[in-house]
């Protein structure tokens, strides 16, 4: 596509110590992101997408341990960097935006101060230069009167403005990769669209790689170059956005897509889909397909061994024992799903 990947992840796993044992929050996840390209990580809450992003930033909670064969970012292996070197990358080459802009900003410091310190930390120099940069970026993310805003405190700004400010703050040093964890979930619908287009524009302008974490397939359809669908800590389907949407292959992906209401869909045309059952426990060792207890196509073979990723197209892989044709199956795909 467009040049060498900015980030290549191979075999990333995150385990969390819980009283009952080891919780496998993320298991053997691999993907890559190219400059100017968007990778969407999709899945239900608890599927490991947030843990994956925190692992990339090396901001995992203390009880979590990270293992990876390779997490190569601009020629360096993130999994093996010292904490000191990692801190130098964060905010400089790697940025991250969080879900809730209401709580993600320090309430006792001015906007300007919080933005400037990113520049001062990584670039040093005079505060005036940092301030100039902050003002420029606030304007760039669509905030009017940036100069006045710099002197305000977070609680004086609306949620949408705060998220814009958060984006501007993470762009202070023009990172090569930006991770956005559900950046619009806490915002009003009208504001959501603005923030997404803003992210898209900025990504093109700065040629950034973008990892967008979301549970909203509408957002994926709008933003994704590449998609990775996660379930129970694993990637169950991955490929270009176009292929995954055109030919969803893993039963779980199709289940997710069935859950989106379509315009004009009425009871006569069939009820809205839903996926029965709950996500299995991720504590302890497991074998077989982790989706089998919720899958209408499950059979004996799903219990055994590791299910490997199989090719479904040129740039399209899925994790199911059935061949693509059968996995796509015939309706009904789910025990209690669309009839």
């Amino acid at each position: 596509m467009s040049g060498a990947p900015v980030l290549e992840v191979e075999g990333l796993s995150v385990d969390i110590d819980v009283p009952a044992g080891k919780l496998h929050a993320v298991s053997d996840v691999s993907f890559c992101v190219r400059p100017g390209e968007t990778l969407c990580l999709v899945g239900e809450s608890g599927c490991g997408k947030t843990m994956t992003s925190l692992a990339l930033m090396r901001l995992l909670p203390p009880r979590a341990t990270l293992t990876a064969r390779r997490m190569s970012f601009e020629g360096r292996d993130l999994a093996r960097l010292s904490e000191r070197d990692m801190a130098r990358l964060r905010g400089d080459r790697l940025g991250m935006i969080f879900q809730d802009p209401m709580t993600s900003l320090n309430p006792v410091y001015r906007i300007g101060d919080q933005m400037e310190e990113v520049w001062l930390r990584h670039r040093g120099g005079a505060r005036a230069a940092a301030r100039k940069r902050a003002e420029f970026l606030l304007e760039r993310v669509g905030i009017i009167n940036p100069r006045q805003r710099l002197d305000q405190y977070p609680h004086q700004l609306s949620g949408g403005l705060r998220q814009r400010m958060m984006i501007a703050m993470m762009l202070m040093c023009e990172p090569a990769l930006l991770i956005a964890d559900e950046p619009t979930t806490a915002l009003d619908v009208t504001v959501q669209v603005q923030i997404l287009s803003l992210l898209r524009d900025l990504q093109q302008e700065f040629r950034m790689g973008l990892i967008l974490i979301t549970h909203n397939l509408g957002v994926v359809a709008r933003m994704a170059d590449e998609v990775a669908v996660m379930y129970a800590g694993r990637i169950v389907e991955q490929g270009t956005g176009r292929e995954v949407f055109a030919a969803p292959t893993h039963p779980y992906t199709r289940g997710l897509l069935d859950c989106i209401p379509k315009h004009g869909q009425s009871a006569a045309r069939g009820p809205l889909g839903s996926i029965p059952g709950i996500v299995p426990s991720l504590v302890g060792e497991m074998s077989g397909c982790s989706f089998r207890n919720r899958c209408a196509l499950a059979h004996e073979a799903c219990r055994r061994g590791e299910v490997a990723l199989a090719q479904a197209g040129a740039d399209h892989a899925y994790r199911c024992v059935l061949p693509p044709g059968q996995a796509r199956g015939q309706a009904p795909a789910f025990a209690g799903g669309a009839a």
Partner: protein, 305 residues
């Protein structure tokens, strides 16, 4: 901000008046002052004479307004024992008590704040547990007992420090350490709890995602937020130190307001006792008012609302 201050000020004045009424009535209603003053073998005539002499036979309200009227003009009455003006007795001794309280608070904060931060940063390690043991033990140690142990060790065994009196700076060391130890546990616990809370907050994750150094994350971003409740606690503790020094001042015979209060209580010198009581209550009210203002200065959400 001005409205906030005015409202707080009005409440403070009302609370001060209520407290003075309570303090005043408590001394008169918890027993018959006149008969206590007249002594054990007093005849009813003696008691009546004592009551008349000190105006205790008048209605309570009259007594109160007399006293309040005097108090507002700076006349707190005279000691029954030495006949000196109460205000003078207090003024002569306030320096010792305030010195004691300021030093104890400073020492307490100096130890407890870093310890609380450390315990939070090293949560659930041996450092945290040691700090917890220290705070549990500190909270359970009666300070009069601790004072006696200090005297036994440092004055009697090691002969480093004087037993009692208030002549030299060395006389202040043991009382200050005793008082400081009594306020450390709560300050440490609150700092630890506040830091734990703040460290798991989203904005600390943001600060780390910005690549800031550990020092900056801990001291610029976390402590500044965690310290807000500690400011209020410190004000309360300062009030406690002013009043709580009764015990420590008596043991070390430091000639401060607390010792005066204790002596006056045992002599039923009620004009002195009630004045000190109301004086300390007003000091407490003033301190909480100041801590509210400091908090507002530290927290823009309060200041700008």
């Amino acid at each position: 901000m001005i409205g906030f201050l005015l409202r707080r000020l009005t409440i403070a004045v009302l609370v001060a008046i209520t407290v003075s009424i309570i303090g005043f009535s408590l001394l008169r209603l918890s027993g018959d002052l006149a008969s206590v003053l007249a002594g054990e073998n007093a005849t009813p005539d003696d008691i009546a004479r004592v009551a008349a002499q000190y105006g205790l036979d008048r209605p309570l309200l009259t007594q109160y307004f007399d006293w309040l009227g005097g108090a507002l003009t700076g006349d707190l009455g005279r000691s029954l024992f030495t006949s000196e003006p109460v205000s003078q007795l207090i003024m002569e001794r306030i320096g010792v008590t305030v010195t004691l309280a300021v030093l104890a608070l400073a020492l307490g904060l100096l130890v407890a704040l870093p310890l609380g931060v450390l315990a939070a940063v090293k949560a659930n390690t041996w450092v945290d547990r040691a700090a917890l043991v220290f705070s549990v033990a500190g909270q359970a140690t009666p300070n009069f007992w601790l004072a006696l142990i200090f005297i036994l060790i440092f004055s009697v065994q090691l002969r480093w420090l004087p037993v009692s009196g208030s002549d030299t700076p060395a006389h202040f060391i043991l009382p200050v350490v005793t008082l400081a130890l009594s306020i450390m546990p709560s300050i440490m616990r609150l700092t630890r709890a506040g830091m734990m809370d703040v460290l798991s907050s989203d904005y600390i994750r943001t600060a780390r995602a910005k690549g800031l150094s550990t020092t900056s994350v801990l001291f610029k971003h976390a402590l500044r937020n965690a310290i807000l409740p500690v400011v209020s606690l410190a004000a309360v503790q300062f009030g406690f130190l002013l009043g709580g020094s009764v015990i420590v001042e008596s043991i070390f015979a430091l000639n401060g307001v607390g010792y005066l209060a204790f002596q006056s209580i045992t002599r039923v010198d009620f004009p002195v006792v009630q004045s000190i009581l109301v004086f300390l209550a007003c000091a407490y009210i003033l301190l909480t008012l100041i801590s509210d203002v400091i908090n507002a200065q530290l927290d823009p959400r309060v200041r700008l609302s």
